[in-house]
Amino acid sequence: MLSESDLSRYERQIMLDGIGIKGQEKLKSSKVLVAGVGGLGSPAAYYLTAAGIGTIGLADFDEVSLSNLNRQILHATNDIGRFKIDSAAEKLSSLNPDVQINKHCIKLTHENIADTVKNYDVIIDAVDNFETRFLINDSCYFLQKPVIEGAVCGFEGLLMTIVPGKTPCYRCLYPDLPKEKSFKGIIGTTAGVIGSLQAFEAVKLLLGIGGPLFGRLLIFDGLNSSFRVIDWSKKRSCPLCGENATIKNPAKY
């Protein structure tokens, strides 16, 4: 049930077709985990909080450092040295005290991933490395949890929404770890776009409205100001969800 304060706070979105009172109540009863509270996680968590998601989990074990602050807008200069979880929870609660913030100050591993994700409706993958992305996606596939998969590099970003059993999975796109690791820079605006869109996908998924990126990949080229959305289908030979799937447990790297 929405309070008087809720009706006021969310007035501008309640009036939208597709949301309404019922939609807002649905958001209030939803639980979203944001894995990684950095460049992508910052805007994603901010907009989920603003939208009135009832429970937001934050999973990160890192501390704020100066070089984070070109993009990780949940954190401020005074937060340097603090756990990102604490810094993030404080800002999000300040924006919206009614949102329940669950802090998971952990590095996601095979031992804790299932217990961490099991109580959430949707997982936003905002981590910064492939090993953890595969852990999250493999685990959520087996646990039947939807994942909003977003990634950025430089001026470019990717986004897709994965619903186990319904859409292609992460390994339909990337079958395994890339053979070479490369580190390029990143500007905040790139992460801002993709992180915001991750929150948007989560809201659409929870409300069952619009056209989330099911079986589609959004490719963002910030430098050339372009968004392309291409079809990306289930891969028959996918090692995770394909016809002769070889991965039966989340892979260890």
Partner: protein, 66 residues
Amino acid sequence: MIVKINGKEENIEKGTTLLSLLDLKRVNPNSVVIEHNYEIPEREKWEEILVNDGDNIEIVKFMGGG
């Protein structure tokens, strides 16, 4: 041959394979995945698969930053 690559039409010589196309574009094969006519061919097959007139190819980078 006219081939659509990442949404743009390009003139590509006959006999080009998916692998040689990456070489032409100075793309490291280990840094991308390819969708060829809406199928996702195995990496090992890229050197055998010929690009044809009217093909649609998407070259997608590995991106894992957050």
